[in-house]
Symmetry: C2
Subunit: 219 residues, 2 copies
């Protein structure tokens, strides 16, 4: 791709909606399932049926990233899987730290699904002296005050915030000052961050609201 | 609304995309923030700016549920907040059970954000005899074998699955047989359920992929 096209393409990628990225993650999971079952090719119809969407949506989602598949032949399963892993940044190792060694922080430190996808939890932090030094599997809880120095020595890519709501913004500031540019936030607050920082907020109550909505509007 | 219109409206509501419901949850949070700050009205532009979307999208999302706001005057903050809580089913109490008293199950049992929104965790289950009888705050871990009987005596609305992947489908079957029709699934598998059951799958690794995508496509 010529340099100018690459530049345009990158600006374009930045604008891709969260919902598209979500669907790409889902497509990858279906492809891996198909691969396990030994299927070599898959149509956009089949991918769509599996993901509860339309084949037009599948083709549109994939078209952002170049041309895949041949009309009437469908997509090559291993090849599209590889390309999706590349697009999603899953072809490498990401260093992840967790700030907040409470219940959710601890649960995430133990979560096996992360490492399988190349997300390595390299450290867990807390300010509570009763928690510092405690072990979570292979990790020892470190003092949050050491985060900046630790990160200068061995930079992390992603920080997960699992502190209480009232501490989340100051922890986010510390993370950003330390040079980490991607944050997954479990605290139920909207973090204020500079444009160049990527934040994803996971709100457990909001997830349940998808169900209460369905229940309330069902009959 | 005449009965036939109500029927049509209900079919319509069922088709509303997850992403719309997600945005409604966000709008509600912003409205509550505005309410705390004492604002009486808000324009679709302001709501859109806060939520990183367009005012056309805000108006479209809200138009599914009737007419709100007056041209040029904006939305009445408390009124729209009340209506959104109603739409999202947050104007009542929902009884929630957790199946799987491991790290994530335990973390969710302690999660304060649920009760604030009317989600009451009424029971937590496990099959592991070393966990049964253990206390999580005011809850005692019960034997999963008792779930059906318990639910016949005191029906729950929502079940949260936090068991390992290989046990998730059989737990889902048990939940459905017991009469619970809404499931929040934390196990990294796609559950097979009848059409009338609503499932929401929360995949922690997929959440992180939103960040790895951003990092991989950033520079």
């Amino acid at each position: 791709m010529p340099l100018i096209c690459e530049e345009i393409h990158k600006v374009f990628l930045k604008r891709i909606a969260d919902s598209t990225v979500r669907r790409l993650s889902l497509y990858l999971r279906y492809l891996e399932e198909f691969e396990t079952r030994g299927l070599a090719t898959i149509s956009s119809d089949e991918l769509a049926a599996r993901g509860g969407t339309t084949s037009a949506q599948v083709r549109k989602d994939l078209s952002f990233f170049g041309s895949f598949g041949k009309r009437g032949l469908g997509y090559d399963v291993p090849q599209l899987g590889r390309r999706l892993r590349e697009i999603l940044g899953l072809d490498r190792e990401w260093r992840v730290i967790i700030v907040g060694a409470g219940n959710i922080g601890g649960a995430l430190a133990f979560y096996r699904g992360f490492r399988q996808r190349g997300f390595s939890i390299v450290a867990i932090y807390d300010t509570d002296t009763s928690k510092i030094g405690k072990r979570f599997e292979s990790l020892t809880v470190r003092d949050t005050a050491k985060l900046t120095d630790d990160n200068a020595a061995e930079p992390a890519d992603i920080a997960v915030i699992t502190v209480p709501a009232e501490a989340a913004q100051s922890v986010a500031n510390l993370i950003i000052t330390s040079g980490i540019t991607a944050i997954m936030n479990f605290a139920p607050v909207q973090l204020q961050v500079p444009d160049e920082i990527t934040v994803k907020t996971v709100n457990m109550a909001m997830e349940l609201e998808g169900l209460s909505f369905a229940l309330a509007n069902r009959e």
